[in-house]
Symmetry: C2
């Protein structure tokens, strides 16, 4: 059974027709390490579901600095939002993406296009629920990110990462974690030293 369909089934019970309708609009796609899965400036017209491989999404500011927005992978540690490779902002509005998504390893993914989502959603109330769960989750995620950035300093953000998603430290390079926290790599190093032996 398709991994994406299996994933959706955890949330919503799908009829046989729903399952078939869904499977019919899905296709497989693969990327090589280093590929840009989503390009800043281009419109994000499909949602990709990660089957295997790690990737990261990031913003680039006016000075060319990269800031990791999120990490994406599919294993026991991953959360809901980690599976999906998409700039929701761009996807929802069909406007140019601000985000770039880059394959850190070879990626296997399942793709669902914007137009196909419209098609299946209009056919099935259950599938409509999936779309709303996904967008509510995306909203929660970005909301939490903004809250953390507004209300806490670098040390607090690192402690929160240690608490909420410590496995990221083993999966991704620390300079990427640093840009996820919004600090310089050297500052992260300093924080780690300070926290490890108080």
């Amino acid at each position: 059974m398709n991994q994406f369909v299996k994933f959706i089934s955890q949330f919503i019970s799908l009829s046989n027709e729903d399952t078939i309708a869904l499977e019919n609009v899905l296709s497989n796609k693969s990327y090589k390490a280093g590929d840009k899965i989503v390009q800043e400036g281009s419109i994000c017209n499909s949602i990709l579901f990660t089957v295997s491989g790690k990737s990261r999404s990031y913003f680039v500011n006016h000075e060319g600095q990269e800031f990791t927005w999120n990490f994406h992978f599919n294993d026991a540690d991953s959360k809901f939002e980690n599976y999906f490779l998409v700039d929701y902002y761009s996807f929802l509005r069909q406007t140019p993406s601000h985000l770039t998504i880059e394959a850190l390893e070879d990626i296997e993914a399942i793709t669902l296009s914007y137009t196909n989502i419209q098609k299946i959603v209009s056919k099935s109330i259950n599938l409509e629920k999936v779309a709303s769960i996904m967008s509510a989750t995306a909203y929660e995620n970005v909301h939490k990110r903004a809250f953390t950035l507004l209300t806490s300093n670098a040390k607090e953000r690192y402690l929160q990462l240690l608490k909420d998603e410590p496995y990221l430290l083993n999966k991704f390079q620390h300079y990427l974690i640093a840009s996820y926290l919004g600090v310089a790599p050297q500052s992260l190093s300093r924080l780690r030293k300070e926290i490890s032996k108080p």
Copy 2:
């Protein structure tokens, strides 16, 4: 004609039936300056549309510090999202709110409850579009906020505010603006001095 209906009409053409259906589920509500319109911890079960008066939404961190999330008012300067008094996060999921919304002046508002939205949305495709416009806008807004906080420092955030929403400086007290930017009031003062005479 109801101000909220008028507002909606700018985006979507409403049939007579739609208009009547919408007006039937709206009601007026007023608050006194200082009132809490949305309380942290309680579920946000309606969306309020500001007719008059200023308010602000804010988070409180673990140390009791307040961080302004947004300013809300309804005049020539206001944007889409400024009208609405709601914690979308809480509203979408019907979970306890993280935000508090406080009336800075006496407020007149139009209220639309969660259950009533479901009712009218299921009756009219046009009204469904309104709901999706609103949630896409909420998403864009929070996305932009997170992006700015992640990628720019205090000075850049202040310059961006000067560029994008300078009128806030005349409408709201500077210590509130400071907490919106995520800096201490004294730091905002220093930035203003530095920028006014280079």
